[in-house]
């Protein structure tokens, strides 16, 4: 995991031993005011924005995103991707369920979303700039992610028992890992 500052938007770059050469760039924003607009751009029929925009309150640790992205790359490399884009597959994997529509609705960006985790595989410099201009909010370092978590909602979505909820990240990790079982 490499953290770097480009302009005033801290970006973290995730790499994958199992998928050499691939890299996922990640930005975190709080106080976001244009979630609805971003959602529209992603789902636009004419020129959809190709990135993953996640409700940061439902991603308790960047590790979870790292894992979901690894699984998406694995599925794509084996012809087993089910969502229409690699980035949508990442969002779907984070949900730990196979219902793509519901996953996007719950975990993806929406009007009510005030903290946002944005991720894109290998953006060009132009695409990087595009991401930074897209979000109206405050760019913050990824170390703030765990503090933004809505534990109650996450516990409900993953149907976690009390002992599971006490180890939130480990339990969500295990659920995501076992999606196909």
């Amino acid at each position: 995991m490499v953290m770097a500052m480009t302009s005033d938007h801290p970006v973290t770059k995730l790499s994958f031993e199992g998928h050499p050469g691939r890299s996922l760039w990640v930005w975190l924003y709080t106080d976001v005011t244009n979630g609805g607009e971003i959602q529209q751009q992603i789902t636009s029929a004419s020129a959809p924005l190709d990135l993953a925009a996640l409700n940061a309150a439902l991603v308790p640790d960047v590790w979870i995103l790292h894992l979901a992205a690894h699984k998406a790359l694995t599925a794509a490399s084996r012809g087993l991707q089910r969502a229409h884009t690699l980035h949508a597959q990442v969002v779907c994997n984070i949900s730990g369920s196979r219902h793509i529509g519901e996953a996007l609705k719950r975990y993806g960006v929406g009007k009510q979303c005030s903290s946002l985790l944005v991720a894109k595989f290998e953006p060009t410099p132009q695409q990087e700039k595009q991401v930074q201009e897209l979000v109206k909010g405050k760019a913050v370092p990824l170390t703030e992610l765990p503090g933004l978590c809505n534990r109650t909602l996450l516990q409900k979505y993953h149907k976690l028992s009390a002992p599971e909820a006490a180890q939130l990240v480990d339990s969500v990790t295990s659920h995501i890992a076992a999606t196909d079982c």
Binding site: E17, G18, T74, A162, S174
Partner: protein, 231 residues
């Protein structure tokens, strides 16, 4: 066979190349490696093809056992039984990725030598954990001292290897689980009979259904002894 056919049968190579890993064990059904996964220490467990089994049956058994192992790991976690964190499952490669526990198996600890007080407290931990597991209808199926690890930092007991596990509320199945453990303690560790006593003592204290289970255990022991006399 083409790559697609291989994938369908669950025999692709895992995404994390096993060439970069260290082979830890080669059992009857699976190979276990130690490696790195997204920067973390990982255990890879791959069920392999059995030459003597019919290929279609083999694929079916492989997949259903792999899924059963994964589901039981999740079920144990749900019950609050410490287990390795599951990291990934590649059905196409019949492979499970999980947290690598830094520590020793109970078997190794006993071999190194433990004080009577440590044996007693570890035995009690095992008994309490099995009580919770059995009350939750999870039967491990292969309760040996090498399938229980102790973390070197927290000293927490962690259950592994749910490859033969099943979901059952039957006293008989739970009793067989305990009997397998009893045999493991009696045969391999002659000095640790006191530890198994501690297991049963804690089991009795913590399991709601200890009475029918321990009654069945007496039956299972009898049968076991008869089998030994005949065979």
């Amino acid at each position: 066979m083409s790559k697609d056919d291989l994938a369908k049968e669950g025999f692709l190579d895992p995404i994390i190349s096993t060439a970069s890993c260290q082979l830890l064990s080669q059992g009857a059904e699976a190979r276990v490696w130690s490696g790195e996964f997204l920067g973390r220490p990982v255990i890879l467990k791959q069920r392999f093809k059995k030459k003597y089994r019919h290929p279609v049956l083999d694929k079916h058994l492989n997949h259903s056992r792999l899924k059963q192992e994964v589901r039981s790991l999740l079920k144990a976690r749900k019950l609050g039984i410490p287990t390795p964190v599951l990291y990934d499952v590649e059905l196409e490669a019949s492979t499970i990725y999980m947290e690598r526990i830094a520590g020793c198996s109970v078997k190794e600890l006993l071999k190194k030598g433990m004080s009577p007080a440590d044996r007693h407290s570890l035995g009690r931990k095992i008994g309490q954990l099995l009580a919770t597991m059995h009350d939750g209808s999870l039967v491990h199926g292969d309760l040996t001292t090498s399938n229980m690890l102790v973390r070197s930092d927290s000293q927490d007991l962690v259950m592994i290897d749910f490859g033969l596990s099943s979901i059952s509320g039957l006293a008989e199945d739970k009793a067989v689980d305990l009997y397998v453990l009893e045999r493991a303690f009696n045969s391999a560790h002659a000095t640790s009979v006191d530890m198994y006593d501690a297991v049963l003592e804690a089991y009795k204290q913590h399991s709601r259904q200890w009475c029918p289970t321990l009654n069945k255990l007496a039956d299972v022991r009898m049968r076991g002894r008869k089998r030994v006399m005949v065979g």
